[in-house]
Symmetry: C2
Subunit: 228 residues, 2 copies
């Protein structure tokens, strides 16, 4: 069986928009590994039962089935040690950047783009998504969206650590990208796949870094249905 | 000439409170290197002229004179490669944590503790410091301090990435500390050396990590004049 990666998709199966799935799509390309990328929708929990989870990404690699993006990325380095390394040096060296991405970047970003997601979903997934997210935010998605112009300066300000590093070197990994880049980029790729909302000024070093990430692997992330 | 490290001091020469100087004090201990630690006050710019800077830390190591904490730390790894490494793997792997410390942690922390600093300074340094910092904040230090109880929850929230990592591993460096730990710890050591303001709940994993940092090298950072 070919290697398989289950990814979150919209009604259009080509619309892949999970930040965590993008981490692994990029990580596989980094390692030079092929995979069949299988679309999965929010409501299809039964289809992941074989993997013991209800969330993507799920990777099936020969006899191994794995879930959780960080677990998968660490597995790829262990299983394919001769391919380019994702976690250079100590994995702990990347833990802080991943924690920042999950605890700071995602919660700030989701408020700016979440209201644009329902339009991309099939009716069944859409009604699940709206109900679930409105409960999470304690307000309607229209109300979440109403605050986003006002929140944008604060969002851009919290990118300061990222901006500082990518203004001084091409990638978070230094001269070449590594898993820290893929983790942070996953968030920006999520955004551009679901929302036309303009997150970054073109003069921002983060915008230039994002462009470098979009160019990697023959434009792997650039050449998908997206809003820019 | 013995190795010399110029550090920011209060009126009491034992009161060393620069976060950047603490990075290097810890880094030297990590490398197993001795140094004479020389007190320097804000107003003594002439005394650093030999080093081509007006800021500490300054390290004099044989014929080399260096300033800027990151430059010094990278020098220590290059010059003493057989001693334990400060930047394990690629230095870029630590760049993000350092950028976060400088761009997020320090600006949030300074507002909580700055008003307590003048009391520790000699009269000359005190009047320089108050004038300089009040201009920087655009308000009196008393006004800065008045907001700190209200800002504390936000300060604790922004520690989320740090909290996440040190809840899962002993140090940012993994099982043993490295320069990322010293950089972040420098901020907390700065705080405890100048202010009685309680930054952390004792149940916070960050508090436990700070305790581990204070225990390193025979209590090097713990056993100095401080408020806890």
């Amino acid at each position: 069986m070919p290697r398989q990666l289950y990814e979150l998709a919209g009604e259009d199966p080509a619309r892949r928009f999970s930040p965590y799935c993008w981490r692994i799509r990029m990580a596989l390309a980094h390692k030079g590994l092929e995979a069949e990328v299988i679309p999965w929708r929010f409501t299809e929990t039964d289809r992941l039962a074989f993997a013991g989870t209800d969330k993507v990404p799920v990777l099936v690699d020969g006899e191994r089935t794995l879930h959780d993006s960080t677990v998968i990325a660490e597995y790829l380095d262990q299983e394919y040690p001769k391919a380019p390394t994702l976690f250079r040096g100590d994995p702990a060296a990347r833990a802080f950047t991943l924690a920042w991405t999950n605890a700071v970047l995602h919660p700030a970003l989701v408020r700016l783009i979440v209201a644009d997601i329902p339009a991309l979903l099939d009716p069944h997934a859409r009604s699940y998504f709206i109900k679930n997210r409105e409960a999470r935010f304690g307000m309607t998605l229209a109300q979440v969206a109403a605050g986003r112009d006002e929140q944008l300066p604060q969002f851009r300000a919290l990118l300061a650590p990222l901006r500082h590093v990518v203004a001084a070197s091409n990638y978070l990994g230094g001269t070449t990208p590594d898993y820290a880049d893929y983790a942070v980029f996953g968030a920006f790729q999520w955004a551009r796949c679901v929302s036309p909302f303009k997150l970054l000024e073109e003069s921002d070093p983060v915008f230039a870094w994002r462009g470098r990430m979009l160019d990697l692997f023959g434009g792997l992330a650039r050449n998908v249905p997206a809003f820019d």
